[in-house]
């Protein structure tokens, strides 16, 4: 419970690093994707350029208060996830405000941003926004099932819900990572991660070809800039969460960067291979193999 200004500044620095890393990661991933299809792809600095442009647009419109607040909620979701997550194991500087709560807090804080986005998009009054939100929420419900199973499984495994302690329990070598000690939970969680990142085949929420971009249809300018900032932070934070839970955490930024990159790449990799699911397909899919893996992950501890 450290409310000192030093802590605040360190956290801000961490946030800065994470945001930039998130943007770099996304451009890198897109470049990799381009190379796979034989293109050169965007310049590595493209996300910053886009963001700068979005923040410097000259005209903005708003549909109402909630529309205005929606991006704030959304960004708060990402920032909050970062704030409540210890980034670097054993480091006071990079543990952020993780003393506020444990894994459960983080799991539920994800909803904060989703809710804000949903409401903001809703006030936009655009039908596609609502359709996108309804799809997103529907998919999210079943994404959570394998995730919950996996979380419970590792809580049983490590007798704790505290992320720092979970990471601490994985220290001691490559083979003490959860991915080896509890492969089923890892499998379930990594499959549910696919849905959480929303790449193909689970990108029906934004589905640009059908419901132009989904929830953020009406968002532009600074609002969209907020959403993009959030994406950068959220991707790193979620990957860092998975890193902490399953891949031994990180003791320094390099390790964090490598691991989060690989975790994020996993979802992109899958996305490059598979076409898009319809919503009922994805809802059902998460209740099949991932859930089964999750159940196995618990059964082995019974």
């Amino acid at each position: 419970m450290d409310y000192s200004i030093t802590k605040f500044l360190w956290t801000l620095l961490g946030l800065f690093i994470v945001t930039n890393w998130g943007m770099l990661m996304s451009s890198t991933i897109r470049r990799i994707g381009a190379r796979v299809s034989g293109r050169i792809g965007i310049p590595w600095y493209q996300p910053w350029v886009d963001l700068t442009k979005l923040y410097s647009l000259k005209s903005q419109v708003s549909h109402g208060t909630m529309f205005y607040l929606g991006p704030v909620f959304r960004l708060m979701g990402g920032v909050g996830l970062f704030l409540f997550l210890p980034m670097i194991f054993g480091s006071w500087h990079w543990s952020n405000y993780s003393f506020s709560g444990d894994l459960v807090l983080i799991l539920y804080f994800q909803l904060f941003g989703m809710l804000g986005m949903a409401l903001g998009a809703g006030e936009g009054g655009h039908p596609y926004s609502t359709i996108g939100v309804s799809r997103g929420l529907a998919q999210f419900t079943t994404i959570e099932v394998p995730m919950t199973l996996a979380v419970i499984s590792i809580a049983i495994q490590y007798h704790t819900l505290s992320i720092s302690q979970i990471v601490a329990a994985q220290q001691g070598g490559f083979f003490t990572w959860t991915v080896w000690t509890n492969p089923f939970a890892t499998g379930a969680a990594m499959l549910s991660l696919l849905g959480a990142f929303g790449h193909s085949p689970f990108n029906l929420i934004q589905a640009p070809n059908e419901i132009p971009i989904g929830p953020p249809t009406e968002y532009h300018g600074v609002f969209l800039g907020f959403l993009r900032t959030n994406n950068a932070i959220l991707h790193v934070a979620e990957a860092a969460l998975f890193m902490n839970l399953f891949f031994g955490g990180a003791t320094n930024w390099i390790e964090l960067i490598v691991k989060t990159f690989l975790i994020y790449f996993w979802s992109v990799f899958v996305g490059m291979v598979f076409p898009r699911f319809r919503i009922e397909q994805s809802v059902r899919w998460f209740l099949k193999i991932p859930t089964l893996l999750g159940i196995l992950a618990i059964v082995i501890f019974l």
């Binding site: 005209s59 807090l105 409401l119 419900t141 919950t148 419970i152 919503i279």
Partner: protein
């Protein structure tokens, strides 16, 4: 002292006098008749006074001066005094009621009438069986004569059937009497008892004949077609007299003759009584004619009392009290109902909605119905309570089941009837005109019921503790019902606050009770504040709301099983009336009532088992159930779960809560449901984990809770009706609570308490606000709303905060529940249940988004443009609750710490506090810090946005990018209807209404069965005669077949 012989003498004299009067002198005749009736009422009343006040000894009156057997003797004891008074009162009131008809048919009918009343008196008093026979015959001849009063085809037929049947029966009685005399050489009952006929060879047959005749006089099922026809066809005044008077007398005969045969016959009495009770009530379920329905009900009640007589060995000295309690309820209620039916003159029970224009008569009607079912504070409640307790003490579970089953079937049709009369359109062709002589008897009977209820309460063990104070307040408000709404509202709130101030010191720091008292009474005040928004008088609302709240507060105060059950039933009654006030809520109120009564009977059974285990009436007896322990706890849990609407028992809730009025929904949802939670918590407290079988029970209930949460939430997702959505959400939330507390750990219970408090707050807000909006917009359908955020920003904020709490999103208090539950689940090892519950928690998001989006966001509809914010009276309580939520969210330790400490007495401590930080062996959470972090970060980000987006233009409703087109209408642009179609495709199979179908099938089966069964009443009088004969034969073969 006037000896009772004058009853006979004066009436006979009067009858002869009336006979010689000229037929035109009806005025004198009626004065004489009433005078005679007043006189005999006075005589019996005077005796009653003597017995009650002066404790006079039983008196025997010898008619001819000889001792029996040489002369007939009459006995006048306490019982006789009570019964003759009852008979004479109903005779007198009936005489007043029938005055017009009697005047019309002439003086002779008046003579018959008083002779009839007199004969019933003698039947009660006489100790000579031949005399008994004679007066039975006189009474049935008189009845036959009185039936002729109504010059109607149906009355003739019914009378004929009656005479044929009673003729056969009395002839058999005569045979029995002859043989008894032959074997015992005595016609005196005492002499016959002394002779012990059962020991004499052949005496058993004589006794059998007597008994079977007496039983047949009571119209046992199924040999009672003739009796029902009489009830149906004769003048309601006569039916009232038959039902209240003849049945009373005949029952006393059965009681009087009982010692003759000893214990051999009692089981048969009980069996026949039980069959009659259940059978004729079952018949009633398909009945639409009110008089016939009352006939079935009368016969059922008589069957019940016959059963009580038969069960007297188990009941011991309480037999008379129990029998009397039920008899007096039946007596007053049935007389009142028959008289009412004479006023309304409707061919079917739907026509009784004519009562709606006459609130006092409607109130009386409700009184009679509730008295018949056995609701407090009526005598039958205490009767049934004592009956069940005594039976349980002797382990007579089958009889208990039979009684409760019969009572339940009775409730089926009585509440259908009540519901019709409250809710159906007032028929145009039925007019009720005021006639004092018809109103007065009904009023008196109603008052008698309340009086007797209060009078009999102390006779029951633990009854002296019952707190009638809240009930008195209810009556006060009923009396003040003519006042405008704000006066009554203020009065109610003031009363509740006063009671709260009075109550809290009495709770002696019992935290659980304090919390629930806070929810019940605090919630009451808050929801009543919203009532200021209503205009007009809201007739009947305040008494009923307060009745419910007095029931709820009674639950808190209860120290004994009786008080608890008493309050439970009061609460049920009050909430029934509240629920049924909604526009379309008749079927829902009905199913609510049936489930409630079913649940209440399960609770009663359980409480009886608790009582039987130590003959201890205190609530602590729940902790020491030794009789059928698991069954008892299961029944209690199921009973409470009907109130919390757990899976399988939930089908009443969506309709009942969804269709209720806008400020009733929060009462029943946010507050009333907590009564079930309170019951469950109390039960689990006392049950503990050590009791045999409790582990399994808890495990099953845990799964039930988890699945309830899932199905409730899933059900809500696919709702289009805003209030039903909230109702389904309540089912889900109550599922969480059930699940949490079945874990029986400190964390689980803490989660349970957190959910309870949260649910109270957010559901009250949601139902208040959404209810207000629904009223304002004039529709329940969410897809017809939209865009309300611009018109009702305060409502939006209230709803937003509530849904954040429901979703369990940090930093608000909903997360406390989720965090505790996570820890509890992992600690307890209920992983899969936990996953189901958490899955349900995420599903909650779907309906929450649907709710807030469809109502507040999206497109504003054209016809809602001029909407204003909902009434401040609704917003004020909502915002008070929001402050509560905020405080709970920022400082959860203020609430959770004391609860945790309280729970450490019962469960091992597993939640620790370190300042604002809570931690368990698994994880930690700091509500205050979370709040600070989130609020700070949010403010910073908002500030950033404000700076970064310098100038933002507010644009119009249709200024959306619409693929370069423009929207057509708001209605077609607002996405709300069936927005989770894809989800339905994937998981819709989970919401197939299995439970509804199951209960529908059950009810269809019952109704089909009763429809099939009632074909025995073919209407042919010869068949009825055959039934009587067959009854005798079958009874003989069963009872004495071996002899």
């Amino acid at each position: 002292m006037v000896t009772p012989i004058y009853i006979v003498a004066v009436i006979l004299g009067l009858a002869f006098l009336l006979g010689i009067l000229k037929s035109s002198m009806t005025r004198l005749g009626s004065i004489l008749m009433i005078g005679g009736l007043v006189f005999i009422t006075f005589v019996s009343g005077q005796w009653l006074y003597e017995f009650l006040v002066n404790h006079r000894a039983t008196d025997i009156i010898y008619t001819a001066g000889f001792l029996p057997p040489y002369a007939i003797n009459l006995q006048m004891g306490l019982n006789e005094a009570i019964l003759t008074t009852m008979i004479n009162i109903v005779g007198l009131l009936g005489g007043i009621y029938l005055l017009d008809s009697l005047k019309k048919t002439g003086i002779n009918s008046m003579a018959i009438f008083i002779v009839f009343v007199m004969s019933l008196n003698v039947i009660v008093m006489t100790r000579d069986i031949f005399n008994l026979f004679v007066f039975l015959e006189i009474s049935s001849i008189a009845t036959g004569g009185l039936i002729l009063l109504d010059n109607k085809r149906k009355a003739f037929q019914a009378g004929m059937k009656y005479i044929i049947a009673t003729g056969i029966i009395s002839n058999f009685l005569l045979i029995g009497i002859i043989f008894s005399y032959y074997f015992a050489s005595s016609l005196n009952i005492d002499g016959l008892i002394a002779a012990n006929l059962m020991s004499i060879k052949g005496g058993a047959i004589a006794l059998f004949t007597i008994y079977v005749s007496i039983i047949l006089e009571l119209k046992p099922f199924p040999a009672n077609g003739w009796g029902i026809d009489v009830y149906t066809a004769s003048n309601p005044g006569i039916s009232a007299l038959i039902s209240a008077g003849s049945a009373t007398a005949a029952l006393f005969v059965a009681y009087k003759l009982m010692p003759m045969g000893g214990s051999f016959w009692l089981p048969y009495f009980a069996i026949i009584g039980a069959i009659t009770f259940i059978g004729s009530n079952l018949m009633g379920t398909r009945q639409e004619n009110p008089n016939r329905l009352l006939g079935y009900s009368s016969i059922g009640q008589v069957g019940l009392i016959l059963m009580i007589i038969g069960l007297s060995p188990y009941l011991g000295k309480d037999t008379l009290l129990i029998g009397f309690s039920i008899l007096i309820s039946h007596y007053a209620a049935k007389a009142g109902l028959f008289w009412l039916s004479g006023i309304i003159k409707s061919k079917n029970i739907q026509g009784w909605s004519a009562l709606r224009k006459h609130p006092y008569l409607l109130f009386l009607f409700g009184t009679f119905i509730f008295a018949l079912i056995g609701f407090p504070p009526f005598p039958s409640f205490f009767g049934k309570w004592n009956l069940i307790m005594a039976l349980a003490a002797h382990g007579q579970y089958a009889w208990m089941t039979a009684i409760l089953a019969g009572s339940f079937t009775e409730a089926i049709y009585l509440f259908k009837w009540l519901g019709y009369s409250i809710k159906l359109e007032v028929p145009e062709d039925i007019t009720i005109k005021f006639e004092w002589n018809k109103y007065l008897p009904i009023y008196l009977m109603g008052i008698l019921l309340y009086f007797m209820g209060m009078y009999l309460a102390p006779f029951t063990e633990g009854g002296v503790y019952i707190n009638f104070l809240p009930l008195a307040f209810v009556f006060l408000l009923f009396a003040l019902d003519f006042l405008p709404v704000y006066v009554k509202n203020t009065l109610s709130i003031a009363g509740i606050i006063w009671y709260m101030v009075r109550l809290f010191p009495l709770l002696e720091h019992d935290l659980m009770r304090e919390i629930f008292a806070g929810i019940f009474l605090g919630g009451a005040v808050l929801t009543l504040v919203a009532g200021y928004a209503k205009k007009g008088k809201r007739p009947g609302f305040y008494p009923m709301a307060l009745l419910m709240f007095s029931g709820l507060v009674g639950l808190i105060e209860a120290n004994t099983l009786l008080e608890f059950f008493f309050s439970w039933e009061l609460m049920t009654a009050g909430s029934y009336f509240l629920i049924i006030r909604g526009k379309r809520s008749m079927p829902h109120g009905y199913s609510y009532m049936l489930f409630s009564i079913g649940g209440a009977y399960a609770i009663l059974f359980g409480l009886a088992l608790a009582y039987a285990s130590g003959l201890n009436i205190s609530l602590a007896a729940l902790g020491h159930i030794t009789q059928l322990t698991t069954l008892a706890y299961t029944l209690l849990a199921v009973g409470f779960m009907t109130k919390t609407a757990s899976l399988g028992l939930h089908i009443w809730l969506p309709g009942a809560h969804g269709e209720a009025e806008s400020d009733v929904s929060p009462m029943v949802s946010a507050i009333l449901l907590k009564a079930g939670v309170f019951g469950l918590m109390l039960l689990f407290f006392y049950m503990g984990t050590g009791t045999p079988g409790s582990e399994k029970l808890l495990y099953v209930l845990g799964w039930v809770g988890a699945l309830t949460a899932l199905s409730g939430n899933l059900g809500a997702v696919f709702q289009e009706d805003a209030k039903r959505l909230l109702a389904y959400s309540s089912i889900g939330q109550l599922g969480y609570i059930l699940f949490s507390i079945t874990m029986m750990t400190q964390l689980g219970w803490l989660a349970g308490f957190t959910y309870t408090i949260n649910h109270f707050m957010f559901k009250a807000i949601l139902f208040l606000v959404i209810g207000g909006i629904v009223v304002k917009l004039g529709t329940h359908n969410m897809y017809e709303m939209g865009g309300m955020i611009k018109k009702m920003p305060y409502s939006f904020v209230a709803v937003l905060i509530s849904i954040i709490v429901i979703g369990g999103i940090p930093p608000l208090s909903g997360f406390a529940g989720k965090w505790l539950l996570y820890n509890a689940v992992i600690q307890k090892g209920w992983y899969f249940q936990g996953v189901v519950v958490f899955f349900a928690g995420v599903i909650a998001f779907l309906y929450l988004f649907k709710l807030i989006h469809s109502v507040f966001l999206g497109q504003l509809k054209d016809n809602h443009r001029n909407m204003k914010e909902i009434s401040a009276w609704i917003l004020i309580p909502s915002y008070i609750l929001i402050i509560g939520i905020m405080v709970f969210s920022a400082f959860p330790q203020w609430v959770l710490k004391p609860i945790g400490n309280m729970l450490t007495v019962y469960f091992p401590k597993s939640l620790y506090w370190q300042g604002t930080r809570a931690f368990t062996s698994l994880g930690y959470w700091d509500g205050t810090t979370t709040m600070i972090v989130v609020v700070t970060a949010f403010t910073l980000l908002l500030g950033w946005l404000v700076i970064a987006s310098k100038k933002v233009k507010r644009i119009g409703q249709f200024n959306i990018v619409y693929a370069a087109e423009r929207p057509y209408r708001p209605e077609t642009t607002h996405v709300s209807y069936n927005i989770y179609a894809g989800y339905k495709k994937a998981l819709g199979f989970l919401v197939t209404p299995v439970v509804e179908t199951f209960w529908e099938n059950v009810s269809d089966m019952v109704l089909d069965f009763s429809g099939w069964l009632r074909r025995i009443y073919s209407g042919n009088m010869q068949n009825y005669a055959l039934h009587v004969v067959l009854f005798i034969v079958v009874f003989y073969l069963i009872a004495l077949g071996g002899l």
